[in-house]
Symmetry: C2
Subunit: 280 residues, 2 copies
Amino acid sequence: MIVTVIGIGLIGGSLALSLREAGLATHVIGVDQSFENQTKALALGLVDEIADLASAISRADLIVLAVPMDAMLTLLPLLLDGVGDHQIVIDAGSTKQRLLATVEQHPRRARFVAVHPMAGTEYSGPEAAVPGLFEGKTLVICDAEHSDPAAVTRVGGIFEQIGMRLVYMGGAAHDLHTAYVSHISHITSFALALTVLNKEKEEQQIFDLASGGFESTVRLAKSSPETWVPIFRQNRLNVLDVLTEHLRQLQHMKDVLEQEDYPAFHQLIEQANLIRKILK
Amino acid sequence: MIVTVIGIGLIGGSLALSLREAGLATHVIGVDQSFENQTKALALGLVDEIADLASAISRADLIVLAVPMDAMLTLLPLLLDGVGDHQIVIDAGSTKQRLLATVEQHPRRARFVAVHPMAGTEYSGPEAAVPGLFEGKTLVICDAEHSDPAAVTRVGGIFEQIGMRLVYMGGAAHDLHTAYVSHISHITSFALALTVLNKEKEEQQIFDLASGGFESTVRLAKSSPETWVPIFRQNRLNVLDVLTEHLRQLQHMKDVLEQEDYPAFHQLIEQANLIRKILK
């Protein structure tokens, strides 16, 4: 299978590695608007060659679109314009409703399978690509009923072979749930980093004292604005909803601590502990 | 060296393991008010014997107090009443000012070395004890000038031998910095767990979709109220200060997203990214 990866960053690059390691990709063509990324992707062995968009599309069996969500909206219809019945296009986007709406009426809509591999790190770019990133993680396939059934089966099989569990849902449900399990975590991490950076001027002390707990809650704050602003933009209403509730919960914890109502504080923590039954 | 550990949980139990592994503890005596913890600690090999408080104190070279912060306030003066000039008492507490004030005038204050090993996990109890927990982490030694200099040197040497870096600071500075690098992370995790549990009723979806990012920001929400309520209580003013700033930052991110001011949102994330230079 010849695979074209458009956007050779953390996700596109890691997927190229996984597909090759599983023996699924025999040749990987990379497309990236950044010359620096092109050079790095070749040097790191993520892709076999760099090509221009038209040539890369025409020769591919599978086309993976792994660019920021704003670029996705422009690129996906263009890609679909050029693909034939033997080709499949997938995205790897973190939001789905707007993207799905953009291509809803496209004559070649059935060649597109919308997927979201629920895996990533706080790093970006070709050098962030790692083998095994998707193993044991979940792949969400969205609005599968609008895709060619054979294409959905093929895509599902490919991701199962690199170790992913498949979950099917509609684009609206996807965007709601990811606001809870991914997007809000990034917002709180960014805000936590800003809090510490604004108030705690003694950086050496943070560096010395920061233990595992701090690092794990704040590590997502290293995530790039190029990736995340378009995600928050496209999932704005869901994110605002969750953020409003999160602010309410934090304010409540603050009130209880101000009032020194420790039995109530104890109870809040006990309720929060129920997350144990949900986390693996 | 005979070591007595009072409170054989995550920290006390892990320290017992580390001290024995480093060849520093030849015999470990455990004290715990819970019969269940006593049984587990023996079964897990964390301690060699369980003893009553008086006997365990009288025979120890080093006494480690690793109980919740509220119990610490009562127990530390009692321990100091009973120790001689050849013995050293250390705590492992997450807050320091109140504890230090409690024993400030104690005639045997010099036998006490206040330390905070900046290491832990979200789990508690003897079964949470793990070898190597402290390796590569920081030990804060507080108000060392009020301790016997030889005792401070001895304690510093012990923790260096189990792989810790030493940092010295006053109790007030300790409590301020830990509010930033540890306590606020727990508050945000608890609030995030409550947000998700209250709003997201489809638990199976969280379970399926929760990726590494969510797990890492929310894992501290598994932490026990028995440990954390006394910490927040004793560091209340610092925690409220940091929490107020965190709420302000979150509200600002929300305002910017509501106003769809994406250039400003981009800038906020870029500022948050500066945490990269502080995190290891």
